[in-house]
């Protein structure tokens, strides 16, 4: 089959006619082909324009030629009308070519759309199954909104009508699916929905196959309405998996009964939690066991098609088992099965086993079982030839890592990193950094690991990694001497990465004294070592080193003259870079005028970083309502700050004392947290990197504002705390200042959402270079993958005075998250550069789907979630009047179902729902108990995932 070059003579008449147009013989040039085609196009055009009316056959012939020419890659700008004419022909071939032309060369010409829709309408009404099929396929292929408007009512009728032929039903089901995807608002649910569910029982497996796709998509959006599909799908699946390999005849593929339908049914079941009805549940468990058993049976055929089809079903069954995450026995069996595949000779199977095992590693029931395969996985890292397989091995090692095997896994990843493909290095670096920190028992090991990372893959070590090692060294006095010694040794290397110079400079500036006793690392040696790297470094690193030098002046009075000489040098005092120049001037002056005591105070060792600071700050920030954002006073301050947001330094006075930007970040109340922008000019970056713990990042400057001469710093753009008011609603004004108003409209469904952002120019002057960019943020301890995917198109860079532009952001929630994304907006207004950053109110609860349940169910589940990590409770004072109706509205707005008559105490509120992310679905129960006397609330969240409980509790607590 497809074995090669049979002489190129087609069978049908069309083929012969087309032959001369195609694949020019070797000697002929591209120009010759174009010439020939232009000649043919001219010929066809003249035929179409000719006085003589063409008969259907000729019309079809020429339209078909046009299509062929188009598919060869040439533009076609005529023939649409002739193609539309073909639609009303009564001959199948003419109609088919007409429809094909329309499907391939869709034209939005409204005149034609009307004619096309008319022809489709006639064909749908023709009762000729062939014509109906062509019309339905055309709708499914084009799927435009106009078509949805015209046919969204008709297609469901065809689908459920008793006398519709099976093949037409198949097409109608998928046609409806396409219309529903394009324009869900135009496809109203109705009587037909329950009849569609019953198509799962249809005799014709092709109809079941098409219907399952439709139901799966509809069920994702309307889980309640399609709930009955669960038991039907289970019984259909059960009949398939228990059938003998020949029972299903046409639908048996290489001895596997209906593999694709099985996969689809298993996917449908993944839209729902495990069935509640014990009988259904038992039957499903049996099915899954049968599928796992079959994997152990000897193959019925040696063909790869047989094993692929069988394993397609097996992998989907394992996905369902993982999705339910409730049957320890099945999870462990799945893991053992995948373990066998890890050593299979088929690369595909090894790849898929690694991928699937990764999700198993996160289930408490199978984590231990996954860990037993560590050696095989490490071996895969070393021997697999396909980089994507190695990548999966890295992912799996990361997922199976815990305290017991962290040292081994980190060592293996580090050694793999030496030869790893460039495309995955950064990811591995982050993974190693996270694992090293998370499971560090011995901080010397941690420091070694990070320094190794920088040595092996310095370019891929992002800022947050080296910030973190410094934070940890500062907070652990038992590791400081070791760190100083280690960085000193690492800096001896003739060529070392700039990131190492940064870490080295910082650590020696703080703790160089701990190794200064050794003559091999005396103060002067330390200084000379660092200064030998100075000239090769970028400006931010040089700025950091200057701060190290002034710290040395305090630590080691004997090197003061040497350092003063350096600071005094023209290359510092007259440096073209303002930041460097200013540091040199100020440090030189400081070292000259200040007494030893003052120097010692000013350049004191950095205080420890508050542990867990980021979560504390997150709370602080959220407590500051959105009111501060739109406050005029703030707006003014923000503008003065924003003007300086560019690379130019601000006047020194602008950053004096707790800067307005820091305050707006909600850091004002942070007790004694040293606040000071970082020395590098990439201030904004730090905010991103550390998300809301900006102050945790800031004191990385070797010196904090509290005890350090004021310097001018480029300001990072302010991130306003983007309102908690949006937690329970989706529309409103997000931000407003004197120039700009930002409005929002958003909708969320399952794990996806769409946000319309409206930017209004309030002035009468144009905004230029208007670039709004939504960026997801991830906290440092978050994993390397993004939790949110945001996609958007750039908006028109010019916004006229008084005009409004719209931007659509498509949102996908990959896994649960805490950090809301940030919307960075930059534009030029009247010659000044404006910079606004606002939090986008995309919070975890937006991906909530309400679930109704009875009182009995509720409390049964409540009891099941009794593990202490699953519950998060918060007792807090009411911030608003305690009104029952408003509270109810807020709970519903929050996204969960409000369950009435469930709690024995009618004053309490209980809710239930499912948080949908791409990777998992988490069932959530909540209970809010008001205490009117005390004006307090107690809020309890129980979910199967600690982070979800935590986050939902935080979000909802702010609302009352």
């Amino acid at each position: 089959m497809l074995a090669g070059s049979r002489p190129g003579v087609g069978k049908a008449a069309t083929s012969r006619r087309l032959a001369p147009l195609c694949s020019p013989s070797p000697g002929k040039s591209k120009e010759a082909e174009i010439k020939r085609i232009n000649k043919e196009l001219a010929n066809i055009r003249s035929k179409f324009k000719g006085d003589k009316a063409l008969d259907g056959y000729s019309k079809k012939k020429y339209v078909c030629k046009l299509l062929f020419i188009f598919l060869l890659g040439h533009d076609i700008d005529f023939g649409h009308m002739e193609a539309v004419n073909l639609l009303s022909s009564n001959r199948y071939t003419e109609k088919q070519i007409g429809y094909l032309f329309i499907s391939v060369l869709v034209n939005s010409n409204s005149e034609l759309i009307r004619l096309i829709n008319n022809a489709i309408k006639n064909d749908l009404a023709s009762r000729n199954p062939t014509f109906m099929g062509l019309a339905l396929h055309c709708i499914a292929n084009v799927g435009s909104r106009e078509m949805a408007e015209a046919f969204a009512g008709e297609v469901p009728k065809i689908l459920v009508a008793g006398d519709t032929m099976d093949s037409v039903k198949q097409s109608a089901a998928l046609c409806l699916l396409r219309l529903y995807r394009t324009s869900p608002d135009l496809v109203p649910m109705g009587d037909w929905t329950s009849r569609v569910v019953h198509l799962l029982n249809d005799q014709h497996l092709g109809v079941v196959t098409a219907a399952t796709s439709l139901i799966t998509t509809l069920a994702q959006k309307n889980p309640e309405e399609f709930k009955t599909s669960v038991s039907l799908a289970v019984s259909r699946l059960s009949r398939i998996v228990t059938s003998a390999s020949t029972d299903l005849q046409d639908y048996t593929y290489y001895f596997v009964p209906a593999p694709w339908l099985s996969v689809k049914l298993l996917r449908l079941l993944q839209c729902y939690p495990p069935p509640e009805d014990p009988a259904v549940r038992g039957r499903l468990t049996e099915c899954l066991e049968t599928i796992l058993n079959k994997a152990q049976e000897p193959p019925k055929s040696k063909k790869v098609q047989h094993s692929n089809a069988k394993n397609a079903v097996l992998f989907e069954a394992i996905s369902l088992i993982i999705h339910h995450d409730s049957e320890p026995n099945l999870l462990v069996r799945a893991c053992n099965q995948l373990g066998q595949f890890l050593q299979h000779r088929e690369t595909n199977l090894r790849y898929l086993a690694l991928e699937s095992m990764c999700t198993l590693a996160s289930s408490e029931f199978s984590h231990e079982a996954v860990k037993t395969h560590i050696d095989t996985v490490i071996n895969a890292l070393k021997t697999e030839r396909d980089v994507s397989v190695r990548q999966r091995a890295v992912d799996l090692l990361y997922a199976m890592c815990d305290r017991s095997n962290a040292q081994q896994i980190v060592a293996e990843m580090l050694s793999y990193l030496e030869t790893a493909d460039y495309s995955i290095r950064e990811e591995i670096v982050l993974k190693v950094a996270i694992l090293a920190e998370k499971y560090a028992v011995d901080y010397a090991w941690y420091v070694d690991t990070i320094l190794n990372l920088i040595r092996i893959a310095g370019d891929y070590v992002s800022e947050e990694v080296w910030y973190r090692v410094i934070q940890i060294v500062i907070n652990r006095d038992d590791v400081q001497g070791y760190a100083a010694k280690t960085v000193f040794e690492a800096l001896q290397a003739p060529a070392c990465h700039e990131n190492l110079v940064k870490v080295g400079g910082y650590i020696l500036g703080e703790f160089g004294n701990l190794i200064a006793g050794d003559p091999r690392s005396s103060p002067l040696v330390q200084f000379n070592l660092l200064h030998s790297k100075f000239h090769l470094c970028s400006v931010p690193t040089r700025a950091l080193l200057l701060s190290t030098y002034i710290k040395f002046v305090n630590l080691f009075p004997e090197v003061k003259p040497t350092i003063q000489d350096v600071l005094r040098g023209d290359s510092q005092l007259r440096n073209a870079d303002v930041e460097l120049q200013q540091r040199a001037v100020e440090y030189l002056r400081l070292s000259t005028v200040a007494s030893t005591d003052i120097l010692a105070t000013v350049l004191e060792e950095m205080p420890p970083f508050p542990e867990r600071e980021s979560s504390i700050l997150a709370k602080l920030k959220k407590k500051k309502g959105p009111s501060t954002v739109t406050d005029l006073e703030d707006t003014k301050r923000e503008r003065s700050v924003d003007v300086n947001g560019g690379p130019e330094p601000a006047p020194a006075s602008a950053s004096s004392t707790p800067s307005p930007s820091a305050d707006l970040l909600g850091l004002g109340a942070a007790p004694a947290a040293p606040t000071g922008p970082p020395p590098s000019s990439g201030g904004g970056l730090l905010v991103d990197v550390f998300s809301d713990s900006a102050s945790a990042a800031a004191p990385l400057a070797p010196g904090s504002e509290d005890n350090f001469p004021q310097r001018a710093f480029p300001k990072h753009p302010r991130i306003s705390a983007g309102g908690s008011e949006f937690v329970c609603k989706n529309n409103g004004v997000l931000f407003e200042n004197q120039l700009l108003q930002i409005g929002l409209k958003s909708e969320f469904r399952q794990n996806l959402g769409r946000m319309f952002i409206f930017y209004g120019n309030k002035t009468s002057t144009q905004f230029l270079n208007f670039t709004p960019t939504p960026v997801p943020r991830c906290g440092l301890d978050s994993l390397t993958r993004t939790h949110l995917n945001l996609q958007t198109k750039p908006v028109d860079p010019t916004v006229d005075g008084g005009a409004q532009v719209q931007q659509v952001v498509n949102i996908e929630c990959v896994s649960d998250f805490t950090e809301a994304p940030v919307l960075n907006i930059q534009f030029r207004y009247g010659g000044t550069f404006q910079n606004v950053s606002v939090q986008l109110p995309i919070t975890l609860n937006k991906f909530f789907q309400p679930t109704e349940m009875s009182s009995q169910d509720f409390f049964q589940r409540w009891k099941q979630l009794s593990n202490p990590q699953q519950e998060v409770q918060n007792i807090f004072k009411a911030k608003h009047p305690m009104d029952t109706e408003i509270t109810k509205a807020k709970i519903i707005g929050f996204g969960s179902a409000l369950l009435e008559e469930v709690d024995p105490n009618p004053a309490n509120f209980v809710g239930a729902g499912i948080i949908h992310t791409k990777t998992s679905q988490t069932g959530c129960l909540l209970r809010l108990e008001p205490n009117l006397q005390a004006q307090m609330y107690r809020l309890t969240l129980r979910t199967s995932k600690e982070t979800v409980s935590q986050r939902l509790c935080e979000l909802l607590s702010q609302q009352f």
Partner: protein, 159 residues
């Protein structure tokens, strides 16, 4: 609102030189995007050999790594000089689509009596019909070879 969720993004048949023999798009792409996708698929698929998997998660390539493509993967199989590629959601079932390709190829082979590349070129309008019988709206429509071939023969008799 998983409306764009699980569906086939496109089906491509290319020869080793990168010439497209069939392109069926199930999502809206503009012409430039289509052209770039075609080129990128060719670039990632042709460098792979038998030791590689039949799946490519296309992260490094520019267009495919743009946010809207990050969740896609290409499942492909090579037959003689032709690559049959299906682009699906990253969470979709790899083996099911790999065999869907084979099922499709077996139907083509039967229908064209030992199919070759030129059959696909000259009978492009028939190939589109075969595709629509087996895949519609980005979903698998019919998997029974017997049923598909019966329908195709019936349609042929109308010609």
């Amino acid at each position: 609102m998983n409306l764009l969720g699980k569906l086939i993004r496109f089906i491509l048949i290319q020869n080793r030189a990168g010439k497209t023999r069939l392109a069926k798009w199930y999502m809206q792409f503009d012409d430039d995007e289509k052209q770039k996708l075609i080129e990128e698929v060719h670039a990632v698929v042709t460098v792979r050999d038998a030791k590689h998997t039949n799946f490519v998660e296309v992260t490094p390539a520019p267009i495919l790594s743009a946010p809207q493509f990050r969740n896609f993967k290409i499942i492909y199989r090579r037959y003689a000089g032709l690559y049959f590629c299906i682009c699906v959601d990253v969470n979709d079932n790899n083996l099911a689509y790999l065999e869907a390709i084979h099922n499709f190829v077996e139907v083509l082979n039967e229908y064209f009596h030992n199919v070759c590349e030129l059959d696909l070129v000259f009978n492009f309008y028939k190939v589109y019909t075969v595709v629509d019988e087996m895949f519609l709206a980005g979903e698998i429509r019919e998997t029974s070879q017997t049923k598909v071939l019966k329908q195709l023969l019936m349609l042929q008799s109308l010609e």
